[in-house]
C-alpha cells in the first residue's frame, strides 16, 4: 500500500510504484477532473499541482511523490461554490469541449498563487505548455486575467514585443 495526500485528504492505494499519478487519481480515487490526453507530457490535460507546482500527472510515477501534497481541480471548490480560477473560467466561458480545461485551470492556479500580478508575457509563457485543440486560447487568457483580479492582483499589460 502507498499513501498519498490529495486535496488535504490522506489515501492508501494498492498500486505499483511506477503507476502514473494520473491513473491513481482517476481509477482509484475517482477524481476524474484531470484528463488523459497524450500520455507523453505534451498536452497538459493531466496537469495537477504537486507541492504547489504544476506537473504532468501522466508522467509522474507514484514512487516520485514521496510525502509531497497533490492538489486537483476538485480541491478548488465545488460546482456551486467554485474558487476564483474556475469561477473566472466559467464567467469567460473559456471551455469549448472542455477536455483541456482542468489542466489549464490548475496551471493558472499555480501561477496566480505564486504571483497574482504577472505580466502578460509571463502569463503566456507560463500557460504555453498546455494545449487546447478547440482554439479557445484567447478566452482562457481572459479567464486567467479575470482570476488574477479576483485574487487581489491583476495581469500587468505592456506594449507587446514582436519578434
Amino acid at each position: 500500500m502507498i499513501s498519498l495526500t490529495v486535496n488535504g485528504k490522506q489515501h492508501e492505494v494498492d498500486a505499483d510504484l511506477d503507476t502514473p499519478l494520473l491513473y491513481v487519481l482517476r481509477n482509484d480515487l475517482e477524481l476524474n477532473g484531470a484528463k488523459f490526453g497524450c500520455g507523453l507530457g505534451q498536452c497538459g490535460s493531466c496537469t495537477v499541482l504537486v507541492d504547489d507546482k504544476p506537473v504532468f500527472s501522466c508522467l509522474m510515477p507514484l514512487a516520485a511523490l514521496g510525502n509531497r501534497k497533490v492538489r486537483t481541480i476538485e480541491g478548488l471548490g465545488t460546482a456551486d461554490k467554485p474558487g476564483p480560477v474556475p469561477a473566472a473560467f466559467e464567467t469567460e466561458q473559456a471551455a469549448q469541449c472542455g477536455y483541456c480545461i482542468a489542466g489549464m485551470i490548475m496551471r493558472a492556479q499555480a501561477l496566480l498563487e505564486r504571483n497574482n500580478r504577472p505580466t502578460e508575457a509571463e502569463l503566456r509563457a507560463h500557460m504555453a505548455p498546455n494545449l487546447c485543440r478547440c482554439g479557445t486560447h484567447m478566452r482562457i487568457l481572459a479567464a486567467v486575467r479575470r482570476a488574477a483580479v479576483a485574487m487581489g492582483g491583476g495581469v500587468q499589460q505592456q506594449a507587446e514585443a514582436k519578434p
Binding site: 505499483d16 510504484l17 511506477d18 503507476t19 502514473p20 500520455g39 507523453l40 507530457g41 505534451q42 504537486v50 507546482k53 504544476p54 506537473v55 504532468f56 508522467l59 509522474m60 510515477p61 507514484l62 514512487a63 516520485a64 514521496g66 508575457a121 504555453a128 505548455p129 514585443a161 514582436k162 519578434p163
Partner: protein, 375 residues
C-alpha cells in the same frame, strides 16, 4: 549568412525584435550586452559604411574606432570571405530599423577600459580572410571557411585560457558554455556512433540525428538557425566537421545500442521504477517514439561524457522548440522529481546505457542547476 552565424542568437533579447540587441551575455569577466545591429541610425548600425562593417567583423573595431569586446567573435568572423561579409552587410542593412539602446556593460576593472583589447588582439587575433587549403575539395574548404568563420563553432566547443582566448593547440577539445558542456568535435569526440557528414547534416539541419541525439541548450538555437541556411552551405559545414572527427574512436564502425537493464535495475531499484513510470513511455525500445526511428539513449553523447550536467539539464528542463517552430520535444521534469530522484535517475541511465564508470557528485550537480548556476 546571418543564419549560418546565428547572429540573432546573441543580438536578440528574450521577447525582443530580431537583431535589436539587448541580450545580456554572461562572461567570466562580467556581463556584456549585445548591441543593436539593425540599421537604425541612432542606436544601431544605420550610419555604418560597408568598410566600417567589414572592419568590425575582421578587426573588432566599431565605426567610431572603439574596440569591441571579443565576446563578439570577430576572431572567427575575420576568416569569412569578402563575398560573405558583403552579403551579410546587405542583409542587415535591409532589416527593419529598430530604435533600442543596449544597457551598459558590467565588467570587472580594468577590463572596462577598452584600449586594453588592442593587446588581446595583438596576442590572439589572426586576421583573415582564411585561404583555402590546397589538396582539399572545394566543398571541404567552403565548410572550413564557414565553420572557422561566420558559424564560429569553436567559440563554444574549444576551451579558453585565462584571457578568454581559445587555447592554442586544443581546438574543439570541448568546453563549458552557458551552463552546458559542449563536447569535443575532434579526435577526442566521445560520440558512440560515427559522426558522418550525412548525420551531421541532418543534425545541424533538424536538431536531431537518428544515430546520436537531439540538440539541446545553446546548440538547439544553432540548429534552429541553420535550418534556414542554404542546403549547400550546411552540407559543406557537415563535411568539414566530420573530417575533424575522422580519428575519433567512434569513427571506426557502428556500435550496437548498449542496454544493461538487469544490472542497472539491481543497482538503482528506485530509479528503475521512476524510469518505468516517467521515461519508458517514450524511451523504451518498444515505445511509439522509438518506432519512428529516434535514437536509443545509449547513442546520446551526453551520457558518455565525464559530467552529468547535460543529461540533468535535459531531464530537468526538457526540450522545447521556440513558438511556431518545429523540433524535438521533451517535457521538463524539474518539478516532478526531487533532487535525490534526479541524481538517481541520471546514475541509472549512466549504468544502464553506457560502459562508463559512475559519475561522481551527481547530487551536487543537481543542486548547482537548481540554483541556476553554471559549473
Amino acid at each position: 549568412m546571418a543564419d549560418v552565424g546565428n547572429c540573432a542568437g546573441c543580438h536578440t533579447a528574450a521577447g525582443g525584435r530580431a537583431f535589436a540587441g539587448g541580450r545580456p551575455l554572461p562572461t567570466p569577466f562580467g556581463t556584456i550586452h549585445a548591441t543593436n545591429i539593425t540599421p537604425d541610425a541612432e542606436t544601431g548600425i544605420g550610419t555604418w559604411s560597408r568598410e566600417a562593417f567589414v572592419r568590425a567583423m575582421r578587426e573588432g573595431i566599431a565605426r567610431n574606432g572603439m574596440h569591441l569586446y571579443p565576446a563578439f567573435p570577430y576572431d572567427h568572423f575575420t576568416n569569412a570571405s569578402d563575398h560573405d561579409l558583403e552579403a551579410l552587410y546587405a542583409f542587415l542593412m535591409t532589416r527593419m530599423p529598430v530604435q533600442a539602446r543596449a544597457s551598459a556593460n558590467d565588467l570587472k576593472w580594468p577590463l572596462d577600459f577598452r584600449p586594453l583589447i588592442a593587446g588581446w588582439n595583438f596576442l590572439y587575433l589572426k586576421k583573415g580572410p582564411m585561404a583555402d587549403q590546397p589538396g582539399q575539395t572545394a566543398e571541404w574548404n567552403r565548410g572550413r571557411n564557414l565553420v572557422e568563420g561566420l558559424a564560429h563553432c569553436s567559440d563554444c566547443h574549444s576551451p579558453r585560457n585565462e584571457w578568454g582566448a581559445e587555447k592554442h593547440g586544443q581546438a574543439y577539445d570541448g568546453a563549458w558554455i552557458e551552463g552546458w558542456y559542449a563536447p569535443p568535435l575532434n579526435a577526442h569526440s566521445p560520440a558512440v556512433q560515427p559522426w558522418t557528414a550525412d548525420e551531421l547534416f541532418s543534425y545541424l539541419r533538424t536538431g536531431l540525428s537518428a544515430r546520436h541525439a537531439a540538440a539541446a541548450g545553446p546548440m538547439a538555437s544553432v540548429t534552429q538557425s541553420l535550418a534556414k541556411a542554404p542546403d549547400a552551405d550546411v552540407r559543406a559545414m557537415a563535411v568539414y566537421v566530420a573530417s575533424l572527427m575522422a580519428d575519433a574512436p567512434s569513427a571506426h564502425g557502428n556500435r550496437p545500442p548498449i542496454d544493461h537493464q538487469e544490472l542497472a535495475d539491481k543497482a538503482h531499484p528506485a530509479a528503475a521504477a521512476l524510469f518505468a513510470g516517467a521515461c519508458a513511455v517514450c524511451h523504451d525500445s518498444g515505445a511509439p517514439m522509438m518506432q519512428q526511428g529516434r535514437p536509443p539513449l545509449s547513442w546520446g553523447t551526453a551520457l558518455h561524457v565525464d559530467t552529468p550536467n547535460d543529461t540533468l539539464q535535459v531531464i530537468m528542463h526538457g526540450l522545447r522548440p521556440p513558438a511556431g517552430r518545429s523540433g524535438p520535444v521533451m517535457p521538463p521534469f524539474a518539478d516532478t522529481f526531487s533532487d535525490f530522484q534526479l541524481a538517481d535517475i541520471a546514475a541509472y541511465l549512466r549504468a544502464r546505457y553506457t560502459q562508463q564508470p559512475p559519475w561522481p557528485d551527481v547530487l551536487k550537480a543537481v543542486g548547482e542547476l537548481r540554483r541556476g548556476g553554471a559549473p
